[in-house]
Amino acid sequence: MQGRVAGYRNLKLKSLAAEASQALAQLDAERLEELALSCEALHRKLALTNADRETRRAMAEQARDAAADMAILGRVLEATRANLGVMNRLREMRMERLEYTVRAPNAAPESSAMNGDGDGNH
């Protein structure tokens, strides 16, 4: 129990948040998935823990320390969501453009062109 408590006092929530921001900025999906698994494990452990008074205080202190880094992570997440939206739209535009580029020379028989026969992927 002693070792476990000491472990919680060294949670380093701040470092976790900072590393997640860094990994997200660099789109390091692998590292982010590792961090997600670590956080899940940490969350499960904490849920089962009956922490003593001193450990609770230490955890609260950790949480306060991590607030600024969490704010950064939140903002990078928001920016990523916007970027993802743009990328998805670009990809849609690109796909439509590519479809047209391929179909244009065969535009003569209108009905078959519109149905895209022979290309599959319906």
């Binding site: 904490l46 950790q62 179909r103 244009a104």
Partner: protein, 473 residues
């Protein structure tokens, strides 16, 4: 505690909010690009029913001719992010310079703004010392010396801030010159592109225009509007026209109330520019918002200390038994007539230490009751409901918070730029499979990071609650 919970609540709200609402920026950018694309490529619009019918043709496609239009939209998004990142970087640099000014001196005897906190304490403490022997000339000299140090440091800080403000004006003026040069070049390129490639990609000319747009985005916040025949109009983010196809409109500067303002077509657009992005936005925000606020606080400090100390001294009797009169008031500091400019003008006007009115009216010259009252000003809420020391301490603390906020903003914006550049590199020269992989990485990263954020937020909320329970019990 409440503040942290509030901050977390805001972030969590952002994460949980509706996808459509949160993608407003993204969709705006994409939609802003789409109409221009349609106009340039009317055939693309005609083909829309193929996609709307749900039919997809993925096999055997190539990338022929597909990159230019996509890049324009992506570049616009990149440009927008770059504008915000440039603005916050520039602002952060300026704020760090301001903050450095108020960092306490490391022990040398040089007068610095960072010593103002201890100057305030020393000044009021000198009255406490005088209480013990109000007739002692050495103690009276100490009061004037402490007053002189306080006034000097406040005045020096104000002058340094004014100098920083002037330097920012000069930097901003230089940016305006670069903006004019780039908008002129873009207008010229518009003409060339419209005449040579009204219906198709203009190749190197278009690349050149995009390059100029990227540079322009570093300098100023802009919106891009694609027009007929491959033309382009550019406005500031608040809508003032910088380029209309082949015509550009020059930013000019002028002095208004001693400050360099920026004009477009005769209209003063300084206040719109300072929230608009780019380096120009950063310089103007630092100058007109950040430094202005710091100067205002410093003015308030100087004004309140000077007027209150002067008023208290003027009610007493000096060493010669004299009282202050309208013609010859017993003022220690230069009496300010208004708050604005009080800090820069703060100085000690009393030259004779005997004029310090340690005694209250009606008492002998050896009385110390007015010295006690003046020392007591240190603990009175004489500045916007705060004591002088608390006011200064809160003002420095607020400045530090502002620096941290801008730092956070800048970190997030730079991260977004990094992502876009990374995606752009991945998408610009690869086949469809690589492109799909790049998109997958972006999506996976986002989802994993969302999970990390949600879990960390839950852990933090639990930890804070546990801490609260501990504090209560």
């Amino acid at each position: 505690m409440g503040t942290i919970n509030s901050a977390m609540s805001v972030i969590t709200g952002a994460l949980d909010a509706d996808q459509e609402a949160l993608s407003v920026v993204a969709n705006n950018v994409a939609n802003a690009g789409a109409p221009g694309y349609t106009e340039e490529e009317p055939d693309w619009q005609e083909n829309t029913p193929i996609t709307m019918g749900g039919i997809q043709m993925g096999d055997g496609v190539t990338e022929t001719g597909a990159t230019s239009q996509r890049d324009r939209v992506l570049e616009e998004r990149l440009d927008q992010q770059q504008q915000m990142a440039s603005s916050s970087s520039t602002r952060l640099t300026a704020l760090n310079n301001v903050q450095a000014l108020f960092t306490p001196d490391s022990g040398s005897s040089g007068a610095t703004a960072g010593d103002i906190g201890s100057d305030i304490t020393n000044f009021f403490d000198s009255f406490s010392s005088l209480e013990s022997d109000p007739t002692d000339n050495a103690l009276r000299e100490q009061v004037l010396s402490a007053a002189s140090t306080l006034a000097g440091d406040i005045s020096d800080a104000a002058n340094s801030l004014n100098a920083q403000s002037t330097a920012l004006s000069q930097d901003a003026t230089g940016i305006a010159t670069q903006v004019n040069s780039l908008t002129s070049a873009i207008a010229q390129l518009n003409l060339e592109i419209q005449s040579t490639s009204p219906d198709a990609d203009a190749g190197t000319l278009e690349d050149q225009r995009q390059q100029d747009l990227s540079q322009l985005s570093q300098l100023i916040g802009i919106n891009q509007v694609t027009t007929e025949n491959n033309g382009l109009s550019i406005t500031t983010t608040s809508g003032q026209l910088l380029v209309s196809e082949g015509e550009n409109f020059q930013l000019t500067t002028g002095t208004v109330n001693g400050t360099t303002d920026f004009f477009l077509g005769g209209t003063d657009i300084t206040s719109q520019l300072n929230s608009g992005g780019g380096q120009l936005g950063g310089y103007l925000t630092a100058r007109d918002v950040d430094i202005a606020q710091v100067l205002s606080s410093l003015d308030q400090l100087a004004y309140s200390v000077s007027t209150n100390v002067n008023a208290q001294n003027n009610t007493g009797i000096d060493l010669n038994g004299a009282t202050g009169t309208a013609a010859n008031p017993l003022y220690i500091f230069n009496e300010p007539t208004q708050v604005a400019g009080s800090a820069a003008a703060m100085s000690v006007v009393m030259t004779d230490p005997g004029q310090i009115a340690a005694a209250s009216a009606g008492n002998e010259a050896g009385d110390n009751s007015n010295a006690v009252a003046m020392a007591g000003l240190a603990n009175q809420a004489i500045i916007e409901g705060q004591t002088p020391s608390n006011y200064f301490s809160n003002f420095v603390s607020t400045l530090g918070s502002t620096v941290n906020e801008v730092q956070t903003e800048n970190t997030a914006q730079n991260a977004s730029v990094t992502q876009l550049q990374s995606e752009n590199n991945a998408l610009s020269s690869v086949n469809l499979n690589d492109e799909a992989a790049a998109m997958s990485t972006l999506e996976t990263s986002y989802q994993a990071a969302s999970q990390v954020f949600t879990l960390l937020n839950t852990i933090m909320a639990s930890a804070l609650n546990l801490g609260e329970e501990t504090a209560v019990s």
